[in-house]
């Protein structure tokens, strides 16, 4: 194929187009299958959207297609030619470009240099870079993606939206014809997103092959020509835009399977129970605004929302990891004004973080010390010295409650599976004797069995009076164990469901921003 680019003159190249097929792609991480037998075809001159809930396998699929992950099995065929052992670098050489979720330009280099990195033009003496033609070309490419900026600007002087467009231009510079976008609009405003869509449409019309991940249904339906819906690593629906209706796509995304456990808690009435956590008008722009709710003793309140909707930021603000612009947080009627994790733990409020690896575990440390880390200052002591034997007994008891499976309690944390690490984290926080618990994606990255165990445990803790705030992007999780759910969309509470009204369908509609009928 030849997208002829003569120096300095950029006419929209006439592409003959590249068809890109992935067949029976499979990928698992540590035994958990995240992509199962996915077959997908991207046609030139089409925008093909891949939609699905968080964790459905969209990102994994696109990362396989762009060479970042190697599939366990399955084949990739680009323009009739089989691709074997694809890596990000070879993918780019073949003409496949992934525009990442967060632009990854080299911040302190000029736009021109960013565009041409790896293929800098040389003068006749081959170690002298010839900047002049590159600058000229750069302006042409930038114009092509609708950017009117000086190519000599530093990349970090650009807005996120501009950086994203520079990424597109870079794909063109490298003569890529297959472009993937991984949730490109999540850092953008609506207007910026429209600009990006215009560029995407224009690329499509010149014969580029475009793939696009999103969980915002509105934009997907507006821009895509073809849709593939993933759920739990499997493709559950595919078709052209005209064949598919919005409700059909929503129900395919969230699934209609019967959940594993019956909600027994049912319609328990909490209105008379003691308020344990009261949040009022909590605001931190641009993440979320005017969040108010009361969480009662023994209640499991869900915060449902997509990644980027502000759920985690809300939790982190309650726990004092971020400073609120305004609003207050009360635990058991006492206002926590200057919140730090320590102050919150001492007040009986704990937070199980979403990112276990970064914010939870001490990987190189024994399970014992991992489990007691939340209560170091309250451990049994004799005089000034700790009593390791007593500490060990505490840790053993706590890990027994949460059913951690491990070789011994002295095993290093990193040797445990994701599920058992999460159980250890639960054990850590149980030792702190919480009254209010925030569980952020408590079953993320754990296998199905562990998931059910964790749900059962949370359920039991709530029965014993613990007030639980449960954050999840998995609708099933919320419908299975919550008494009440607040739906968060773009930083605001857009709806509330309780008891039997909590269904996947209603919640699903709310969290993608279309209010239930």
């Amino acid at each position: 194929m030849s997208a002829t680019v003569t120096e300095g003159v950029i006419s929209p190249p006439k592409l003959q187009g590249l068809r890109y097929e992935g067949t029976s792609l499979r990928k698992s991480f540590d035994g958990a299958v995240v992509l199962d037998d996915a077959t997908i075809t991207f046609e030139p001159g089409e925008i093909h959207a891949i939609v699905g809930e968080n964790g459905a396998g969209k990102s994994t699929l696109v990362k396989i297609l762009s060479g970042i992950y190697q599939p366990d099995s399955g084949t990739l065929v680009l323009g009739g030619e089989r691709l074997i052992g694809l890596h990000p670098h070879t993918a780019q050489q073949r003409g496949i470009y992934l525009v990442p979720q967060e632009p990854s330009l080299m911040a302190s280099l000029s736009v021109t240099e960013n565009l041409f990195v790896g293929i800098l033009r040389r003068k006749r003496v081959s170690f002298v870079v010839d900047w002049r033609p590159m600058r000229r070309e750069a302006s042409g490419y930038l114009e092509r993606v609708g950017l009117d900026i000086d190519p000599e600007m530093r990349a970090d002087d650009l807005s996120v939206a501009q950086q994203q467009l520079v990424e597109c231009a870079r794909a063109l510079v490298h003569r890529c014809q297959v472009l993937f976008f991984d949730e490109p609009t999540s850092p953008l405003t609506e207007h910026e997103a429209d600009t990006l869509f215009d560029v995407m449409r224009s690329l499509r019309d010149s014969g580029f092959t475009l793939g696009f991940i999103s969980h915002r249904l509105d934009e997907v339906l507006a821009i895509s020509d073809r849709l593939t819906v993933l759920r739990d690593g499997k493709i559950v629906m595919r078709g052209t835009r005209d064949q598919l209706t919005r409700p059909a796509v929503v129900s395919a995304m969230v699934g209609r399977e019967i959940v594993t456990r019956v909600r027994e808690r049912g319609k328990r009435d909490f209105t008379t129970s003691k308020g344990m956590l009261a949040v009022s008008n909590l605001t931190l722009e641009p993440y979320f605004r005017d969040i108010s709710f009361v969480l009662r003793e023994g209640e499991i309140l869900g915060l449902g929302g997509l990644v980027g909707s502000g759920r985690t930021e809300i939790a982190e603000t309650i726990y004092g990891l971020r400073s609120a612009e305004r609003g207050s947080v009360e635990v058991e009627g006492v206002t926590l004004a200057h919140r730090t994790p320590r102050a919150c733990v001492d007040a009986g409020l704990i937070y199980l973080p979403e990112d276990r690896g970064r914010h939870g575990i001490f990987a190189e440390v024994e399970v014992t010390r991992n489990v007691t880390a939340g209560v170091i200052h309250r451990l049994p002591r004799r005089g000034p010295l700790l009593r390791p034997a007593a500490e060990r007994r505490m840790a053993e008891e706590a890990t027994k409650t949460t059913a951690v499976r491990m070789p011994t309690i002295d095993a290093l944390m990193k040797t445990l599976s994701g599920g058992n690490q999460q159980r250890s984290m639960l054990a850590r926080w149980l030792l702190a004797g919480p009254k209010v618990a925030i569980f952020d994606e408590p079953t993320r990255g754990v296998d199905v069995g562990a998931k059910d165990d964790i749900w059962t445990l949370v359920d039991k803790l709530a029965h014993d009076g613990l007030a639980c705030l449960l954050i999840s992007s998995e609708l099933t999780e919320l419908t299975v164990i919550c008494d009440r759910v607040l739906a968060i969309y773009e930083g605001s509470v857009v709806g509330e469901l309780s008891g039997d009204d909590i269904t996947d369908a209603r919640l699903g509609a709310m969290v993608v921003g279309s209010v239930a009928q």
Partner: protein, 340 residues
Amino acid sequence: MPEEIGEKARSRFVTILRRRDAQLLIAILLMSAIVDVMRPQFLTSSNISFMLAGSVVLMVVGTGQMMVIVTRGIDLSVSPILGIAAIAIGFPAQNHNLNILVAVVLVILIGFALGIGNGLLVTVAGIPPIIATLATLSVYGGLQFVFTSGLTVITLPHDYVAVGLEDIVPGIPWLILIGAGVVIMAELFLKFTPWGRAIYAVGNNADAAFRSGIPVRRILFMTYIICGVLAGVAGFVYLCYIGSADSTTGSDTNTNLMSIAATLIGGTSLLGGRGRPLGTALGAVFLSVADTAIVVLRILPIWEPAGVGVLILLAVVTDRQSGPAVRRALRTRHHAEVVP
């Protein structure tokens, strides 16, 4: 990398051999034995206690350095802190016969104050430790120079000399008692107090530690103060042992590099979170024995820095945990992104 889980059949002997302190002990004994064969006067009891005493300065300052490195920091200002402490008590001792107990209190206070300087820069100003302490290295070094005004401490009262050279009971020099005392207290502090445990937690994962309710900045601050205090005490030990001090004390013996070397050779992870005073002490002894061996074997002393460099490299590369981690970190960053 082979996984070592569940292999219970592994003999206890091998398990012990994998420990850095055991390896070091063997290395020290082996080196001593070899040198002793070549130069039979090497392993006399007086030379042994000379070598042990010679390692005490390094042992004390290295213990502080170790704690800082465990938090993923570094303290490049231990050398002038040692120097300032030594001259600050050296001159009053020489000229006014300063009471030795007062001198001990004084060096602790000086180390405390200078440690606060580092702690403020690192935790309040948020300056990376290597830059903050590089700055204080200059500032404190300059102060040391100003304070001496070109003079040298040359004569000390008898009790200082006694601490530096004499035995407390026959066969056990004062210095070894001080070194052992510092190491044992540091071991107890790190293992059996909440603050010591917090140091490891912060070094392993500062984010997770903070979220677990550990006051990370306060712990870091404390660590730099402890390091300063120990450097100050090392200044006292130095003064008693060497018997003199001047504007170059601390930097002339390369205290910064040697304290880091003892720490790393002693099994402290450069990536933080792991390290023990005992290992550091053995690292200091190892360096002291090697130093003496160089003299005894009549190797040119100019080879010593190169030798120390090689030992540091060996220590880091052969380390079971940080070795592979360092190699991985150097190789690529893509692999950080494994879990979807």
